[in-house]
Subunit: 238 residues, 4 copies
């Protein structure tokens, strides 16, 4: 994402109220681009999980079933690849994927109408640092920086209420002229679970958990070249 644009953005936001302290635009455009490129390259070079296999073998989410919609959250691990110099690095950062499903009856939710919102590492940082009464709003635009910027937009908002937070997702598609909105009331207890689980997941979606733990059997044994930085004995070596 354009750093200067970001600078302007935050300077602009700092004049806003605390309510909007964490408005962020197009966070995911970047990861989407990197995704596309990596997808393109991954035919050329192998992209694999930290264990040499796929990123996740087991699926575990945290779901909240409420009257009008259900919200599920699950970590998506980063992918890794060999860099030119031979060491292994993060190919694409992980995210925490939020899935909203509308209710279509008693305990029934429509997966066909589901909408996804992928919280980036920094957005997870905002989420877990929300204090009582704080609000948060994130904007994602697949076409940011392109001619279609703003045609399709997703926005996720987290707003406090008496016993927790309302988490809402709205998806606006100016091309299809559609506008969907989901709102899920999350209790203090449920939010505490999300905060603890997101805090746990953060170093895993960043790749720090993988970079600090020893290789497993599944690991690509050839990948033993060290990143020049890690080889640097200290900050004084150049």
């Amino acid at each position: 994402m354009n750093p200067r644009a970001t600078m302007k953005l935050f300077h602009f936001l700092n004049s806003r109220s605390k309510l909007f302290q964490c408005r962020v635009f197009g966070e995911n455009a970047g990861s989407r681009f990197s995704l596309m490129s990596s997808a393109g390259i991954s035919t050329a070079r192998q992209s694999y999980g930290a264990d040499g296999g796929i990123s996740s073998r087991i699926y575990a989410d945290f779901s909240i079933f409420k009257g009008k919609a259900a919200l599920s959250a699950a970590p998506v691990l980063p992918t890794f690849s060999k860099a030119g110099s031979g060491y292994t690095k993060v190919d694409r950062r992980g995210v925490i994927m939020l899935t909203f499903r509308p209710a279509i009856g008693e305990r029934k939710y429509d997966s066909e109408k589901k909408q996804l919102f992928a919280l980036s590492v920094t957005e997870v940082g905002s989420f877990i640092s929300l204090g009582p009464g704080d609000s948060c709003e994130f904007y994602h635009d697949p076409s940011i920086q392109s001619r279609d910027a703003g045609q399709v937009r997703k926005s996720l908002s987290v707003k406090p209420y008496t016993d927790g937070y309302f988490i809402s997702l709205s998806v606006t598609n100016n091309i299809l002229k559609t506008n969907e909105r989901f709102t899920v009331p999350v209790t203090t207890a449920e939010f505490a679970v999300m905060r603890a689980a997101f805090n746990y997941a953060l170093p895993h979606i960043m790749g720090w958990a993988q970079s600090t733990s020893p290789p497993t059997d599944g690991a690509d044994r050839d990948v033993l070249k060290v990143h020049p930085q890690l080889a640097a004995a200290s900050e004084w070596d150049r």
Copy 2:
């Protein structure tokens, strides 16, 4: 559990004082149902722990021995199973099992008269987010939503005192006409241990710890299909 009922419930509770902010009904009825179904199904399909073996090979609890009763807490890991599409998912969520034993003499506690209370993921969330002076109360009913609703009930309460919290369990059985009550004074230090240990255990009983770590030798090597969601390159892929 009926989501609409839940909605009503929380709306109702929001009008209550902070003291009851985390009253929750029948939390475990749901998990019990899923248990029964999974039990039924598990004859048909294999249910196993994340490592391909049983969920726990080592038993470690945290016990508090006081004058009238002893309280022990231990994590119970989730079980996993293959979904139709071949990926592995949580079959039954884990819990933190609380066990109360009445004292029957100097350092002697009666295991025959023990009573269990299984804290669900969300109840653990309430527990670890208790602030100084906060109280908490949980209700479990095996027959919730059935004709016998309310015949047998367990309620766990956490109430503050000068140097910590009183944790009490009462079990009422209207059919057997029995009513048992245990109260254990938990010091600030002991509560700090429970909070830190429960916070650590949370991602493990949710299955997030297992879904974010590479497979071990014990792991079912065949289980390499990915959940469609995790395969989704980004929130924009459908």
Copy 3:
């Protein structure tokens, strides 16, 4: 330790000022007794670490070198053993071992004159929950509940100062008529490291980290019996 005595003790302490909120007596006497018994028994049955080997293969401490003394802290993992029924359980809880060494010159400390203080799980709970301005004091007596009670005593105190805490250990031996005292000023930053490291170590010295993670290659493969409690499908099964 006698639970009634504990009850009385805490009731007594509750009337004290916050300064002494976490005074604890003989915490370790219990662990020492269990140690002796386990030592006795361990000739009969095998005692081993969670990985089937010894509890710690790598030694890493956190040391603070100050003008009059050095303070080192290191986690000591629990040991495990098979219970009669065949499942594996914690044989002896771990501790965080504090070591004090007096200074005998520029950057020189006398290991011959070192004194140890083993923080129990609950004492670690007190330690990590110390708020700004809080104090803490722990008492250990190897002969508690015996005729020699009070003859040899160790007390560790944590007291706040402008930029952190003074951590002091005094060892009084009425038999040898000796009285040693060490005081180490711990800065806010150093204390933050201790708090974070102790918080990390807590589930490991409790055995929860071992009971929630899959077995490693080193693991005793025979140990697959489950603790009856963990086998309990839910709190309703008896």
Copy 4:
């Protein structure tokens, strides 16, 4: 580092304002010396990572791209070696390496002009315990305690602003008569990520994560001697 000097230093600093509460000098000089010695010795004895291999096989950093400079943070694990008595201990403590790169155009940063600052364990402790409005400043000098003390100096400062912290690095070289300065505005969300990630990394760069987890396949199987301290059954054994 000279402990008496440190004592004087902190006494001196305690009279300063909170703003400078965490000024620390030459923290890294020590680790640099130990590095040099270990480098010298490591030709004689083998130095290896906890898994018997190199410290890091996977490189994952957290990068913040802003208008004038980019800041990257990545954990560097400790190295381990056998002590004379045969047990394994930390050879050199890990750090969190901060890398600053100046911007040279849209989303372009100059790696040739990068400057490194290695946060020591204690500096990481200061960093993660920064409260709202707190500031922090660290000084590194490769020649501390030598004749050239102060000729080359690096200082890292963390200062609060409306929506986060300004993290600045200045490098002064009196010999080359150069003076470089980088400033990166870090938002509250980005700082929350750093705090959570640094908190996660802390036990890993201290070596506690390695000392509390079982050996992996890569592990040096011969290293099974226990540190005398860990062998000590309790604080009462000498």
